[in-house]
C-alpha cells in the first residue's frame, strides 16, 4: 500500500559510512506500516544545506562525519532553535559522548548495532512528540511575554491621562493662572507637582521599555560628531553637577570622531550613565568622560569616583527593574529601567556596554559603538 510521501515522517540520516546507511535503511524497512521516509547525506556541508532547507521532520546524525563531528553539525544548528529533533548515532561504549550529546541538546541517542526496528521507531516517535510539546510550551511562554508587554503598554498609557490632568491643574496654580498663592502654598503644590512629574517619567520609562521589548524600536541613524554630542550632553548636565558640588571633565578626542548612530537614543543612554555617575558620587568628586576610537568603532568611558557597585550586585546592573543600593541617597530611586533600556539600545546598534567597579572605588562605564 502506497502512502503519500508527504504524510510520512521525513528523516534525514547524516552518515559518511555507506555501510551504516544500508544497515539503517534495512532496519527502517522493517518498521510496520512504514511511517518514515529516509533520505541520506554522506557529507557535512551537504547535510548543512539540506537541514537549512527544512524538508525533514527529524535528523539522525552520526557522531563522526569525516573530519567534523555530528555534534558540530548539531551545535551549529541549535542556535536557530529548530523545531526538529536531533538524534545522535553513537558507537558502542561511547557513554561520555551520549551524555554530552544529551547535555548539548540532542533529543536522544541510538547506539549503532544495538537497535532494531522497534527501538528505532519508538525513539523517533518519542523524540518528535517531546519536541512538539516543547515547542508548544515555548510558544505559550512567548505569547505570555507578549501579552505582559502589551499590558504594561496599555496600563502605562492609561496612567498617563490622570497624571497629565494633575500636571495641568497644579501647573495652572504654579504658573499664575488662578491668582496669587502664598509661599507655603506654592511650596506644597510644587512638591505635589514634582511627585507627579516623577510619575510621568516612570510611565515614560515603562513605555520606552515596553517598546524596546516588543522589538518595535527602529533606529534612525545619522552622521554625528561624537565629541560635539558629548559636549552638548555635558553642558546640559553642568548645572546639576554644580549643584551637587561635583565636576565633570571631558577629554575630547584629538581628531573629530564621527559615527552613524541614532542620536536621540544614544544621547539618552549617555545622559542616563552620566547622571548615574553623579548620583552615586558624593560632593567634591569628579567624573571623567573620554572618547577613543579605532578603525571600526569608538568607545566612550564615564568614570566616577563614587560609591561603586558591590560584587553581588554586578550581575543585576542591566536587569529590568533592578535598582542598585545608593547609600548616598535618601530619595526614592528611579524605575530601574534606565540601564536595561540603555543596554538594549546599544545592543541594537551592534555595540556593547559594560562596566568595572569596586565598592568605595568608583565605577567606570564603557560604551562601545560601531562607527
Amino acid at each position: 500500500m502506497m502512502k503519500a510521501a508527504s504524510r510520512k515522517i521525513r528523516v534525514l540520516l547524516v552518515d559518511d559510512d555507506e555501510d551504516d546507511y544500508l544497515i539503517i535503511r534495512q532496519i527502517f524497512s522493517k518498521i510496520p506500516e512504514a511511517p518514515f521516509s529516509l533520505e541520506w547525506s554522506d557529507d557535512y556541508d551537504k547535510a548543512w544545506r539540506l537541514i537549512g532547507q527544512r524538508k525533514h521532520h527529524l535528523y539522525l546524525i552520526d557522531y563522526r562525519l569525516g573530519e567534523k563531528s555530528g555534534m558540530d553539525l548539531m551545535r551549529g544548528m541549535l542556535p536557530q532553535a529548530r523545531p526538529e529533533p536531533f538524534i545522535i548515532l553513537t558507537g558502542a561504549g561511547d557513554r561520555d559522548l551520549e551524555r554530552q550529546a544529551m547535555r548539548e541538546g540532542a533529543s536522544d541517542y541510538l547506539v549503532k548495532g544495538s537497535f532494531g526496528p522497534e527501538l528505532l521507531s519508538r525513539t523517533l516517535q518519542y523524540a518528535i512528540g517531546r519536541k512538539n510539546a516543547e515547542q508548544q510550551r515555548v510558544q505559550y511562554l512567548i505569547e505570555l511575554n507578549r501579552s505582559k508587554d502589551e499590558f504594561i503598554s496599555i496600563a502605562s498609557h492609561q496612567l498617563r491621562t490622570p497624571a497629565t490632568g494633575v500636571k495641568q491643574y497644579l501647573g495652572m496654580v504654579l504658573e499664575g493662572f488662578v491668582g496669587e498663592v502664598t509661599d507655603r502654598q506654592r511650596d506644597i503644590i510644587q512638591k505635589a507637582y514634582q511627585s507627579n512629574e516623577r510619575q510621568l517619567r516612570i510611565v515614560a520609562d515603562l513605555l520606552k521599555v515596553a517598546q524596546v521589548d516588543a522589538g518595535k524600536i527602529r533606529l534612525h541613524k545619522q552622521k554625528v560628531s561624537v565629541g560635539e554630542m558629548l559636549g552638548d550632553i555635558i553642558g546640559e548636565q553642568a548645572d546639576t553637577y554644580r549643584m551637587r558640588q561635583q565636576s565633570i571633565r571631558f577629554t575630547s578626542p584629538s581628531k573629530a570622531t564621527t559615527a552613524h548612530i541614532d542620536v536621540d537614543a544614544v544621547r539618552m543612554v549617555l545622559e542616563n550613565i552620566i547622571d548615574n555617575a553623579s548620583k552615586y558620587s558624593s560632593e567634591g568628586t569628579t567624573v571623567n568622560v573620554a572618547v577613543k576610537e579605532d578603525d571600526h568603532s569608538f568607545e566612550i568611558t564615564v568614570a566616577d569616583q563614587g560609591v561603586g557597585i558591590a560584587d553581588d550586585e554586578h550581575a543585576k546592573v542591566f536587569e529590568k527593574f533592578s535598582r542598585i543600593e545608593n547609600p548616598l541617597s535618601t530619595k526614592v530611586g528611579g524605575t530601574g529601567l534606565g540601564l536595561y533600556w540603555a543596554k538594549k539600545i546599544v545592543d541594537l546598534h551592534g555595540g556593547s556596554v559594560r562596566f568595572t567597579s569596586e565598592p568605595g572605588d568608583g565605577t567606570t562605564f564603557y560604551i562601545t559603538l560601531p562607527k
Binding site: T161, Q168, F177
Partner: protein, 128 residues
Amino acid sequence: MAEKSAQTIFIVEDDQDLNGAYHMILESSGYDVTVAFNGKEALEKLSSMVEPPRIIFLDLRMPVLDGIGFLKEYNAPAHPETTVVVFSNYDAQKEVDEAYELGASRYVLKARATPNELVRIVRDIMSD
C-alpha cells in the same frame, strides 16, 4: 495679560478632566474656547459654527470617532484657515505620520506640555 481674541480655539479631548483643564487654561488667557469630547461631536459642532476655529487641538484616541477618523471626514486641506494640532499621549509615530498626511501640522505630547507651553503654542500659531 493676553488680548481678547475673536478667533476660536476648538479642543477635542475625551477625558473630562483634561478637557476642562485645557478649557480653563486657554479661556483664562483670553481666548474663545469650544470643546467636544469625541470626533463625531467635533464634526457636528464644526458644521454649525458660523466662523471656523483658528486652531483645533485634536486628541487621537477617543471613543465613537477617533482623531484619525475625524481628520478623514473633516478634510483639513479644505480648511486652510484652521490649524490642526495633534494632541496625544500616545507616542505612536505611525499615527502621528498619518495625521500629518491628513492635514495636521503640529504634534504635542500632552504629558509634556505645561499650561504656559500650551498658551505659547497658541500664540505662536496665531502670529503666523
